[in-house]
């Protein structure tokens, strides 16, 4: 039977009529394929070492010197270093996840994704893994060099919980990134500006350089809605045990549970939204029209 015979199907995946094993292998290849240009791209463009690691480290250092100028207690320097490391992930979410589908549309790749027999979740998961390589490197450098250079003393008692909180924060953040990717795609030209507008205000309400509990009601709202705020608050409590300044909005274990809920909610929501935009793209044919 010819491969070009018309068969009614809901999606290219269904039209492909692959068995489960082949379908899974293709999804995994898609994840690898989408992560590949980000990891290889970083190797081929060494300038990112200067612009994505050294210079952002100087920004973090500026906040360290603000605290030094104010004769702040030593833990606050640690809060800045921890916050500086976590900004790498938030920036990656905004620019390389949320705004990416919008840019893929401008580059003409989006229709290829929709017509390929793969899930959009695989594409976004690949983007996340590729992005994690770059942002993870940056975060590690800020954390290690910052802690060494500025004599930050971490006091950790529950390593497992700290690691669990970190990975849950990543899951919730990248889930949110996938949701934002669909949202930005639907919002057209505003993607660029939304990414810009979601940087400093989110840093502020997430308590990037200070305990978010000090923001009162605003901090509580941030804890309920922004994974960066919850993750940072929990990690601050777990990495500076015994510090009178690392007071959290809620106990760390409770914030870990909030992160579990957020990760499940955002990933589920992302799956639903991606299904919606795929449907819209096929039924109305509007999503792949360039917005610029």
């Amino acid at each position: 039977m010819s491969a070009f015979v018309f068969r009614h199907s809901e999606s290219p995946e269904q039209a492909a009529r692959w068995d489960r094993r082949r379908s899974l292998a293709t999804q995994l290849r898609s994840v690898y394929g989408r992560a590949y240009p980000r990891i290889i791209g970083a190797r081929r463009e060494p300038s990112w070492l200067l612009f994505e690691i050294l210079l952002p480290f100087l920004t973090t250092s500026a906040f360290v010197f603000v605290y030094r100028a104010l004769d702040a207690p030593a833990e606050f320097i640690g809060f800045v270093v921890l916050g500086g490391a976590m900004t790498a992930f938030w920036l990656n979410i905004l620019w390389m996840m949320a705004a990416q589908l919008y840019w893929e549309r401008d580059q003409g790749n989006l229709e290829l994704y929709f017509t390929a027999p793969i899930s959009m979740m695989s594409i976004l998961f690949g983007m996340a893994i590729g992005g994690l390589f770059m942002s993870g490197t940056r975060a590690a450098v800020v954390l290690i060099v910052g802690a060494t250079l500025y004599d930050v003393v971490f006091a950790v008692e529950q390593w497992l919980l700290l690691l669990a909180v970190f990975f849950l924060t990543m899951a919730a953040l990248y889930g949110l990134g996938m949701v934002l990717a669909s949202f930005f795609l639907l919002s057209g030209r505003e993607a660029w500006h939304l990414s810009q507008g979601l940087q400093e205000p989110v840093y502020f309400v997430s308590g990037l350089n200070f305990p978010v509990a000090r923001l009162g009601m605003l901090g509580a709202v941030a804890i309920a809605t922004i994974p960066l705020a919850v993750g940072l608050d929990a990690m601050r409590q777990l990495a500076f045990v015994g510090s009178e300044h690392a007071d959290g909005v809620l106990p760390a274990w409770m914030e870990a549970l909030i992160l579990v809920g957020m990760a499940a909610l955002f990933i589920g929501l992302a799956r639903w939204m991606l299904g919606q935009i795929e449907r819209l793209a096929r039924v109305e044919g509007k999503l792949t029209v360039k917005g610029t």
Partner: protein, 307 residues
């Protein structure tokens, strides 16, 4: 032969008029690109969210450490530095993003190059539009500082000549640094969107935008002292808010050690600003010309990259 050379040569007056027209058009295009995607209210929120958010982080840092009893002079220093920094972020990013936008998104850079207008003029026009948006954010942050945080602003006490000279020279130096970045991203891939912000972040430390330079190690203070933005901030801060803390001087600072006085005078500020701006402008221009030549030779002007 380039399009500029190949075109009929106009007289000096016509050429000047054409340049002004090209600059105005580029500025208008830059403004439209930045502003016409939404209604004025949302655009207002977007324009002020970033600078006000950045200032709020610093104000909270100061207030938390001082237990809500912050020295007004320190608070003013932080708010003014943070507000003025909007110009730097917007100005540096404006030129670089114009190159990336026109090469990667709109795919127009190659056409701009073959048009009879000098590319530098078009980029400066686009950059000027973004500086306008930065000025908007800076103005709102300062107004919030004066109205809500009690910054001591008295229009009659302002040293207007110093403010205007410092501002004009500062904007030239910001655009020159922007030129460096535009030249850099002409050589790099699409993912360079974050480069201007990274450079602005690095300079944020070196020029002591929100803390006096004297808290930095002496070699870093020395780098700060040869950067025009340090003198620009000092000039504008001192002119708009007479009696404000000096970012350059102070007991134990490198400046005080070298100059033998606590703070620089207005004349010194202007002189240092003129000299450092001139150096940065010439270097920026030379680097941009080199980058342009290399981009033409290697075919980078119409290169589109993915990530």
């Amino acid at each position: 032969m380039s399009a500029e050379l190949g075109a009929a040569r106009p007289g000096r007056r016509e050429a000047w008029a054409a340049s002004r027209r090209a600059f105005r058009t580029a500025m208008r295009l830059g403004w439209q690109t930045e502003a016409n995607w939404t209604d004025p209210l949302l655009f207002f929120i977007y324009s002020v969210a970033k600078p006000v958010g950045a200032a709020a982080i610093l104000i909270f840092m100061v207030d938390i450490i001082s237990g809500g009893r912050a020295d007004p002079a320190i608070r003013s220093f932080v708010v003014i530095g943070s507000a003025l920094w909007s110009f730097v972020v917007a100005g540096i990013a404006g030129l670089a993003w114009s190159v990336l936008d026109d090469r990667e998104r709109y795919r127009m850079l190659k056409y701009l190059y073959v048009s009879p207008n000098p590319i530098l003029l078009l980029l400066l026009g686009r950059g000027a539009a973004r500086i306008g948006i930065g000025a908007f954010g800076a103005g709102i942050t300062l107004v919030i500082g004066v109205v809500l945080l009690g910054l001591p602003f008295d229009p009659l006490a302002v040293d207007w000549p110093l403010a205007m000279v410092s501002m004009a020279l500062g904007l030239v130096s910001i655009l020159s640094i922007g030129l460096f970045l535009a030249a850099t991203v002409m050589q790099t891939r699409q993912d360079s969107w974050s480069y201007p912000e990274a450079v602005a972040g690095g300079l944020f430390l070196l020029v002591g935008a929100v803390f006096p330079l004297l808290v930095l190690p002496a070699p870093i203070q020395a780098i700060g002292l040869v950067t025009p933005l340090t003198w620009w901030l000092e000039g504008v801060r001192g002119a708009l808010f007479p009696g404000a803390l000096s970012g350059i001087g102070g007991e134990g600072s490198l400046y005080a050690t070298l100059a033998g006085r606590a703070e620089p005078s207005s004349a010194e500020i202007v002189l240092a600003l003129v000299a450092s701006t001139a150096v940065v402008s010439v270097l920026g221009l030379l680097f941009f010309r080199w980058s342009e030549r290399r981009a033409k030779e290697k075919g980078l002007l119409d290169q589109v990259t993915g990530s």
